[in-house]
Amino acid sequence: MMEDQEEKGNAENGIGRQKQVKDEYLLQFLDSLDGYLTLLDSLSSTLSQGWLELASARHAMGASRINGALLDLKVHAAATSLKVSEQDVDSMESQPCFTLCKWASSDNGERSSGEEKSLSPQLRHRNNSQLSEEKVSTRTGTPLILVDQQQRQKSLSVFGVLVSPKLRSAQLSFERALETLVEIANLHTTMLSMFEQVHKELENTNG
């Protein structure tokens, strides 16, 4: 009888632990869903600001200076790219983790080292001072992102040498939108992963 009671206790503990795991998956899923919707709302605001600034720049500079004919169709690599790494969720699953690399083109290193060789010391000093560092976050351990002001300026120069401050503001707004999008992408993969877990648990319960 004692053994029966012990077995019954163990079974109840097992069921309790299973329920705890299911609740955990469900909570994580709901958290990621909430984060996803919040970030999408934030993205909509940022994009609206960007569109407004772009429209203001067009008003200030004229429609002929901001139009489709000016898009740069010469061969060039993206100055802003993504780094994809693998993140372990549990022993059976991994999911991608996206990191934004702003204004960090692949030939940046070559170009700057090439320029260092050919430039005089004074010019070299000026070139280095154009590189600025932006700390994204030190508390969370996010690494420093080197922002190449020359790359940013090059992107604007498609629309001429002297551009409206509104165009620069629009550029910053869309950069912020990109950062939000990368956060959304990471939450998106977490949400999908949790969704699959919850789906499996529900199927096991029904089966």
Partner: protein, 138 residues
Amino acid sequence: MAGRAQIPTKSSALIAMIADEFGVVLLCWDTVTGFLLAGVGNVDLRRKTNYLIVDSKTTVKAIEDAFKEFTTKEDIAIVLISQYVANMIRFLVDSYNKPIPAILEIPSKDHPYDPAHDSVLSRVKNLFSAESVASGRR
């Protein structure tokens, strides 16, 4: 480990864009322009871009072809698509289930984001409504 999906890691991947700009008057490509200003534009040696601007003359087939191309290219990690454009190829977007590239539906200037049409959110909604029907029957 058996059954573990392999995620290809990349040190420099691209963001592709399929953005709509519908309008009669001027300059209907603000979303793509904005992201190009932010530096995501890429033109390869074959002069192919990592973006498609959708206007009134763009056919559904062209959008489908661009979607298939961007989702099969190895150097693309995220595909941004205006939700309005995604609705034109909804079947294709909903049937996509790979982790990379990630497909993100974004609002456009003339069409705000609608959670009811989002591919992932509608899948979630279907799951929970199917579950509530099943539990009701039990």
